[in-house]
Amino acid sequence: MSEKTPEKIKYRILRFLDVTGFTVFDPVVRLAFREEPRKQIESITKFLVVPTLFVALCVGLWWVVAPNHKTKSGEVPTPNIVFSSALINDTFSEREKTKESDFLLSGDARVQALQEVDTLMSELEAELATLKSTLTEQESLYKASLASQIDPIEEKLDALKAENRQARTDRSQSIEALSLEVASGRAPNSELVEAIRKDNELYAAGRQAENVFKDQIEAIRSDKFKPLETARLDVNAVADEIQFLKKRQAFLSDSNRSVKLEQTKDKLAAQDGKLADADDAKAVLKEAKSLVRLENGVERLETQQYASAMTIYLQIKRSLFTVFVGFLMAAAIAIPIGILCGLNKIAMACLTPIISIFKPVSPVVWLLIFQIIVGAFFPDPETHPFFLFFDSIPFINSLGINPALIFSACTVAMCAVWPALVNTALGVSSIDRDHLNVARVLRLGFWDRLTKIIIPSSLPLVFAGLRISLGVGWMVLIAAEALSSSDGLGKFVWDEYQNGSSFSFANIIYACFVVGLIGFLLDRMMIVFQRLVSFDRSESTV
């Protein structure tokens, strides 16, 4: 090969981009290798810069429009709030990890960590005190400025109110006098009616004048005082940190596994003595029972793990696991049946009505059906042999297989099975006749024909189907989790919707981006697989 190495590297990168479907970056690579720079720059501008600007424009539009819409869960969050909610979720997960490691620490490491936390704690408490003082300072400042702004207006308002009240009493007296005259026939009825009407009008006008001042006061009050806000946020942040450190202290001392284990062991030793000291039958029995209980406690503590709260990363992991279980179920059903349908017209005719009826059914309906069915299968999941079996396998028992996982996965499978099935059938039935003729001339057996000709030639379409299936599965899964509150991203969204804290809305939007990004990556992954099995492309191995 006379090719120079940079050329080789370049084509390797380009091939990689081609296989993964990121051909947009093709000109960037070519530009980096100085290939027709003008042409590359032109295509970068057209297909990279302009789209980026467009996306930026959309984000900008979001930023501008969002605060104008007030909802009962607060304003629609702007991108920066969503971003900070992402950071908050990240800190939360970091803290959970720290707590877990604290829980499992033992010996000197534990003592050392505890000391570190204590010093940190004292530092933070000092900081909190200063911050609190600034906060009170700011509060008083704010109050003062508020008073200076509002007091003159309030004075005016009070004056106006008094004036209005006076005018009203004057008017009602004159109306009373008028009514007496009307009753005695000295004045016409219409005059009285006119006077009442006039009084109402004047009253409304007076109220309106008062409202102008009230609105002014309201506006001043709702105007945020920046320094106070920041002071408040600072205090909150440090208080939050202190709260976390308190938790850490607990996990490093009383709630620590090794400490608890130690205590229980001590008790066990004491219990041994008690058992030896006991003299009558009743006491012996009692002490022996306590001993066994303590023994069990020790055993349990030795293997106890930290019960971590579901952070968004754990939810993502859970969702990915569920979607893959469902997807594999769908593939395991769809591919053999699809091949059967593609090979045999009768099988196709048999399955067509089933496919056409069940394909359009909503995932929500499937979810409810599977929830009922799975529930009936496993009335008591704790003792059911199916789950005990999974629990007994070393690696799988950490995956947390439970009925919620199974019915979510079944729902995913049920919705994802159709595209894969239809595409496989299509791929198998549209095999080149020539290839089948070759198989006939060579007298290949059924198995050879299946593995050497039918499956390879239908693989690209099978993978196209699987790709759609995975996309559908991911979409369905999030809905299913939200509805059934089985662990996963869907549950994260649902919980946020339910708890309505100040960051809930931002968290939901954050989850929306996470779901979208993961869906995109899954799709890309399937595209790569699809390209790797496509035989019509030259050398797709990178």
């Binding site: 080149d432 020539d434 290839h435 003729n437 070759v438 006939r440 001339v441 060579l442 007298r443 290949l444 057996g445 050879d448 050497k452 000709i453 390879p456 030639s457 035989f535 019509d536 030259s538």
Partner: protein, 299 residues
Amino acid sequence: MSDERFLEISQVVKAYPNPFGEDIAVVDGFDLKIRKGEVISVIGHSGCGKSTVLTMVAGLNEITSGGIIVDGKEVSEPGPDRAVVFQAPCLLPWMTAYENVMLGVNRSYHHEPKSVRKQIVEYALSAVGLAEAMSKRPHEMSGGMQQRVGIARAIALKPKVLLLDEPFGRLDSLTRMELQDVILELLDRERITTMIITHDPDEAVFMSDRICMMTNGPGARVGELMDIEFERPRDRKEILGTDQFFEYRRRLIQFLDECEHEKEIRRELKAGPQATKDEPPSQTSEPNPESKTESRLAV
């Protein structure tokens, strides 16, 4: 079993159902006996049913009536004793040249050890000049090379009969000549009974021991048989210059022209009194104008 009638095609009829009238017999009463080791070309206008006859011998196409016997056994289904080289190479694109040939060898020689099978495949591929390209995939090869793999796949099975269905139809004329030489060389060495479908008179004369000229369809049958008495092994340059070559070719072309003429007469007759009645589907009866010019150009 006499070697005179190694492959016997007797009174073979192929009829396709016609929903608007009587069945249309594309081939009607085709009769041909082929000696063992003979190379026979079947020539005729496009659409006359040459390929139909070949696919029936291969067992890929059902025989309506009549029978085909190969080495004493009647043909009822396809099998590796009758290897076919199709017009398109029909290679499996996800396999290398080696694997494509091995596919059939694995099946036919499953009782042989792996090393023997490997030898067979390597021999077949080097016999067609692809010793260097065994690990290439079809999309990395030219059309000519792909067709060579197709030929290697066929001969690797050591078939009793080799059936070539316009094997060079899709190749340019230089590649075509190359492949003709490859096949002739192979046949000289292996002495396989061979049936070549072609519409190129030069190719037919150059390659075969006997030429079977088919009349035009529908109802095509053997029109004329012509022995080619060139010595084997043949050399293209020597043969192409001889008067005998031109004589053979003249007779072929004359026959093909007569067929065409006869067809026109038939059509005129039909167009006369009963023009609207029972018109057979056009694809079988209409002469293909392209094929006509093609055969003339090839002269």
